[in-house]
Amino acid sequence: MDDSAVGSGIESHEQLRACLLAAREQDRPQLILDFIPYSGFIGAHAKVDEGDVLYWLEPRRSNIGNPSLPALHGGVIAGFLELSASVELLFGLRLNSMPKVVDFSLDYLRPGRLQALYASCKVLRQGKQLVNVSITAWQVDIELPVATARCHFLIN
């Protein structure tokens, strides 16, 4: 496998674990996003805000789906929410390996405009193998969500 092409600097489980540990100790979930190339591809960020992790997607022209509105691409919103959910597990549930996504279900409530998109995650149930996460995304007002999603992950 061509790991050098990935360019995230993480090549072994030990490095991954060290990175996860550093992120939790420094309270910086962004460190986890930094080693996932896809987060740079769409421009996703995370920070700890009042004890919870707040995720946001920077507005980029390359994330547009419908240029005439312009509106964010539905797939980018989905990818961002799925990414947020997996980081939530790595950061909040202290997993030491990448969770495997099993299914993902998304409801689009409003068009996403070309401005920052925020997301917060809530782990609804954590079993030995399966975790259910609910994710909500909004832009200007948390009361006016752009999309809600739920996701199942296999852990360990």
Partner: protein
């Protein structure tokens, strides 16, 4: 059969709108088939889209984006006239991780059209169509565009082409 100018224009406009603009351009896929209610595309492997750096497997978000694009295009193609089809919801099941360094094939099929909703299913696979990476069902709202709005879309498309040509 009467020559339908709008229908003839539909394929190149759809291809341009999907492949050359915004996130579609970033993903780098190619639409390989456009029939009524059926769209196929192929996306090459890109190390920038990796979700797990240890294995090099692409992130699930890429699969969602491809399936959403493909089903959305299929929904538009099913309406037979210029229209937009915003996604209402999308549900995705991941059967197994994608193999790194191999292209991903995606198909989107409309299986039912009603007066207000279009129902689609989509499939993503690599080596074997019968061993898919992921399967999805998606529903789209059916919004017919009037002539004025469509001409606006065409105009903005031409404007973009012109601006690229002069760049």
């Amino acid at each position: 059969m009467k020559f339908n100018f709008k229908a003839a224009l539909f394929r190149p406009v759809l291809k341009m709108a999907m492949e050359r603009v915004g996130h579609g351009k970033l993903l780098g896929f190619t639409i390989t088939k456009v029939a009524r209610g059926q769209v196929n595309l192929t996306c090459p492997y890109d190390s920038k889209t990796v979700g797990n750096p240890l294995t090099g497997v692409v992130h699930g978000g890429i699969i969602v984006s491809l399936l959403d694009t493909c089903c959305g295009a299929a929904a538009m193609s099913a309406m037979g006239k210029p229209s937009v089809a915003p996604t209402m919801d999308l549900r995705l099941d991941y059967m197994h991780p994608a193999t790194p360094n191999e292209p991903i094939f995606v198909s989107g099929t409309v299986y039912k059209t009603t007066s207000s909703v279009i129902f689609c299913r989509g499939m993503a696979w690599q080596q074997d169509e019968n061993n898919p990476i992921a399967h999805c069902v998606a529903t789209f709202m059916r919004l017919d565009l009037d002539r004025a709005q469509f001409s606006g879309v065409i105009k903005s498309g031409f404007k973009r082409l012109l601006s690229r040509a002069t760049e």
